[in-house]
């Protein structure tokens, strides 16, 4: 079956430093990959998706590149902000519209001043 692995449960860094959150996956097919962000007591919100008409997906300064050879979709940002503190989930779905999502365990990012 499909699975998503996020190796870091907790990441703490100082404002202004670069962010990289790891995501690897296993899937029988060629899945679509997503990053969701969840702030405290809120619902998960879509941050990035792997398919964007040949452009690198980017939103709010975050970007991610799908590497099929290594089955990875790491999330990166050049300079962390205090407001980036949240839970980040990597997820995958089959490349069919309306397919279910399989989530990773999540990474809690804390950005300190």
């Amino acid at each position: 079956g499909d699975s998503v692995t996020q190796t870091e449960g907790l990441v703490t860094l100082t404002e202004g430093l670069p962010v990289m959150l790891n995501c690897t996956y296993q899937s029988t097919y060629s899945p679509f990959l997503f990053w969701y962000v969840q702030h405290l007591n809120e619902a998960p919100k879509l941050l990035l998706k792997s398919f964007t008409d040949n452009k690198r997906p980017e939103h709010q300064g975050f970007h991610a590149t799908l590497h099929k050879s290594s089955s990875s979709f790491h999330l990166q940002k050049s300079s962390a902000q205090l407001s980036d503190s949240a839970l980040y989930y990597c997820a995958l779905s089959d490349n069919n519209a309306g397919a279910k999502l399989t989530f990773g365990g999540g990474t809690r990012l804390t950005v300190r001043p």
């Binding site: 679509f32 997503f34 809120e42 619902a43 998960p44 919100k45 879509l46 998706k49 398919f51 989930y89 997820a91 779905s93 490349n95 519209a97 309306g98 397919a99 279910k100 999502l101 399989t102 989530f103 990773g104 365990g105 999540g106």
Partner: protein, 113 residues
Amino acid sequence: EAGVTQSPRYAVLQEGQAVSFWCDPISGHDTLYWYQQPRDQGPQLLVYFRDEAVIDNSQLPSDRFSAVRPKGTNSTLKIQSAKQGDTATYLCASSSDWGYEQYFGPGTRLTVL
């Protein structure tokens, strides 16, 4: 455009009691998902519908959980005889038939004492 709405937002039960959760998806979205999110874990799919039909309920504990979407719009998730292990946030999400992104509601936080 209104987002996914859920009610109630919070529920506290004793073991053995029953509870129902209600979800209203984004207008025009024909696919509706129910996820269970235990504390500090990623969401895990319980069941999902396309219109009124169940597509996948393989992860729904059928002895105590049930879900319906009778008219292909709103949905209800019910737990009969709740257990402490059911303590989690229950998230509803929807997507359109031609789309891949899922949009989440605010969730219902359930505590079973």
